[in-house]
């Protein structure tokens, strides 16, 4: 005999957040997809039938095989191969690695730089504020593609260079977001209390102000990671992003471009799908996060 004991779960902030988030099935699906994609990116060497960056493993005789064909090395090219005999599936796995890595890395560096400047501007106000925000305004009035194009034209190709370009494009978004939130937070009572306790600037800014500016930032980070991945692919497609020896998804698509007119669709098609699924999943999660964290929409 069991007595119906009602277990009342303590409603912690995290639990509430998770249940709010889970209300949208499509966002949960997006989150699951992201996890799978990240796992694929991490374990790419175990999952792939060849190392697409090792030119020694590529056999030019296996070039441009249609999907499902068995190549000279004895394994099946499920998604076909490109002109150098690179297995598209392995190429996509490794490409995801590069694309996600570049996207996440640049978003986090930009987050660090951007939110530091945003906090400085909001906390000190006055001349510091107007100088920083003027720079942000000018930067944001130019399209991201153009700024990245200029920088890459100057810097040249390479993983580090594209990260620099993406950071330069993105920091201003974070700076503006953080400043906006921090201005509101600054006038709240807990900040006044912190100042009354004569805590030093560093402690006030990083221990009190920053944590309270996090919610909108998390949303911006999600959206910006997707944006960075898309921008990196575009730049690599234009031939000014990553070097040809380590193809990201954008470069794989660019490689297939010239073969497309003869109907060899798979070289461009499948990497594009991988890119698309990644970006859409991140955007879905970002949208839901925005809804959950928006206090105006909360019951």
């Amino acid at each position: 005999m069991t007595v119906g004991v009602e277990i009342i779960k303590e409603e912690t902030l995290l639990r509430r957040f998770i249940s709010d988030f889970a209300q949208s099935k499509i966002a949960v699906a997006g989150l699951c997809t992201i996890v799978v994609i990240i796992l694929i990116a991490i374990f790419a060497p175990l999952l792939s039938s060849q190392n697409p960056y090792d030119l020694g493993q590529l056999d030019i005789m296996d070039g441009r095989l249609p999907p499902g064909e068995v190549g000279g090395a004895g394994f099946t090219f499920w998604l076909g191969s490109d002109d150098q005999g690179r297995d598209m599936l392995s190429g996509i796995f490794y490409g995801l690695r590069t694309s996600l890595g570049v996207g996440a890395m640049s978003a986090f560096i930009a987050l660090f730089i951007g939110s530091s400047f945003g906090l400085l501007a909001a906390y000190f106000g006055g001349r510091v504020d107007s100088i920083i925000m003027r720079i942000v305004d000018i930067q944001l009035s130019f399209p991201a593609v153009l700024v990245a194009l200029v920088l890459l034209a100057i810097l040249g190709k390479g993983v580090d260079k594209i990260i620099i370009a993406l950071v330069a494009v993105q920091w201003a978004y974070y700076a503006r977001t953080v400043r906006g939130t921090a201005l509101v937070e600054r006038s709240k009572e807990y900040m006044e209390a912190a100042r009354c306790l004569a805590l030093n600037h560093k402690r006030i800014v990083f221990r009190h102000l920053l944590p309270n500016c996090m919610p909108p930032l998390i949303v911006v980070v999600t959206v910006q990671v997707a944006h960075a991945i898309s921008l990196e692919a575009t730049l690599s497609f234009l031939g000014i992003g990553l070097p040809v020896t380590e193809p990201s998804l954008g470069l794989l698509i660019a490689n297939g471009f010239e073969y497309m007119l003869s109907g060899k669709y798979w070289i461009s098609f499948f990497p594009g799908i991988a890119l698309l699924v990644t970006i859409v999943s991140i955007n879905l999660v970002g949208d839901q996060l925005r809804d959950v964290m928006n206090p105006r929409l909360q019951k």
């Binding site: 130019f142 593609v145 194009l149 200029v150 034209a153 575009t234 497609f237 000014i240 297939g256």
Partner: protein, 316 residues
């Protein structure tokens, strides 16, 4: 004043940056050339002078409307860009035209009937338009319409006719068929944006007192929507799309590369690849100038559309 300063800073940044890229001599001069020949070429191109002197010469010339000669084509860089500009502007204008004239009605429909299947379909479409990478959509459009169906050509500009001395494509059938795919591709993102703006604007406006008042006055539904609601959703749409016009011109770099459209965007990518410095510098300065002008024009149109902005200015 501020615009001038931005332009000067940009010119310095771009010039110094481009200077650092690499040595155009290696690329342009025949590797078999002897030392004397190389030196003659360096002198002819003005590359032997120190960097600040090159910049000073460049700046003085720029103020006289001379941005240097293209190393590759050996014609003034500005002239080269002027030649390519109509193609880009035509593409951008046509794309904007598509975005506005398809986006506004679609967005208004979605705003009037947010819960219906048609409203939801339009919104799903616009989310896709945001998420899909433009360049990949372009490739897939070529694959579908040019390779498999064979309806539309995949590259080039087609036949052009001169309109006021400027070659344009959209007046010939052949030119129009060439223009259609790149323009749709370029318009896709703006189309999604217009739909969202128009939808949000319509939903907001329908709840406003002036709409209720107009309805109470006995005006027909069509008149309320087409006159009263339409005018008010134009304000955000004009502002955002005006700012996006510059974005369209910048993004045409991608579309032009895919569809081999002979505009400025393709020129800059080609120039970056062969390190044609004067052209890169001239292109970037032209684009920056264009941006400053566009922002100014948007501000003016904005105040014309929204009397509140003008009144605010008068008070301050």
């Amino acid at each position: 004043m501020q615009s001038g300063l931005v332009l000067l800073v940009m010119s310095l940044l771009v010039f110094v940056g481009v200077f650092a890229i690499g040595n155009p001599v290696d690329i342009l001069i025949n590797p078999d050339a002897d030392q004397a020949e190389i030196e003659r070429a360096i002198k002819a191109l003005g590359l032997d002078k120190p960097m600040w002197e090159q910049y000073w010469i460049f700046l003085v010339n720029a103020l006289q409307g001379d941005l240097g000669r293209s190393f590759v084509f050996n014609i003034p860089a500005l002239q080269l860009i002027w030649q390519r500009m109509p193609a880009t502007l035509e593409l951008a204008a046509f794309a904007m035209f598509l975005a506005i004239f398809m986006g506004l009605p679609l967005g208004m429909i979605a705003g009037l009937k947010p819960g219906s299947w048609i409203g939801r379909t339009i919104m799903t479409g616009s989310i896709l338009g945001f998420s899909l990478p433009t360049f990949w959509v372009g490739l897939m459009m070529i694959l579908l319409f040019a390779v498999y169906l064979g309806w539309l050509p995949a590259s080039g500009r087609g036949e052009t006719v001169d309109l006021f001395g400027v070659p344009v494509s959209f007046l010939t059938l052949n030119g129009l068929s060439h223009l259609l795919l790149p323009a749709i591709n370029l318009a896709l993102f703006k189309l999604s944006l217009t739909i969202r703006l128009a939808r949000a604007g319509t939903r907001e406006a329908m709840l406003m007192d002036y709409v209720k008042f107009a309805k109470a006055k006995g005006l027909s539904n069509a008149r309320v929507i087409l006159v009263h609601v339409f005018k008010n959703i134009m304000i955000p749409v004009v502002t955002v799309l005006g700012l996006e016009l510059g974005n369209v011109i910048a993004f045409s770099v991608v579309t032009e590369t895919i569809f081999a459209w002979p505009g400025m965007g393709k020129l800059i990518i080609d120039s970056i690849n062969v390190l044609d410095r004067p052209v890169i510098v001239a292109y970037l300065l032209m684009t920056v100038t264009m941006f400053i002008v566009i922002n100014l024009v948007v501000d003016v149109i904005y105040s014309l559309l929204d009397p509140r902005v003008r009144l605010g200015d008068l008070k301050s």
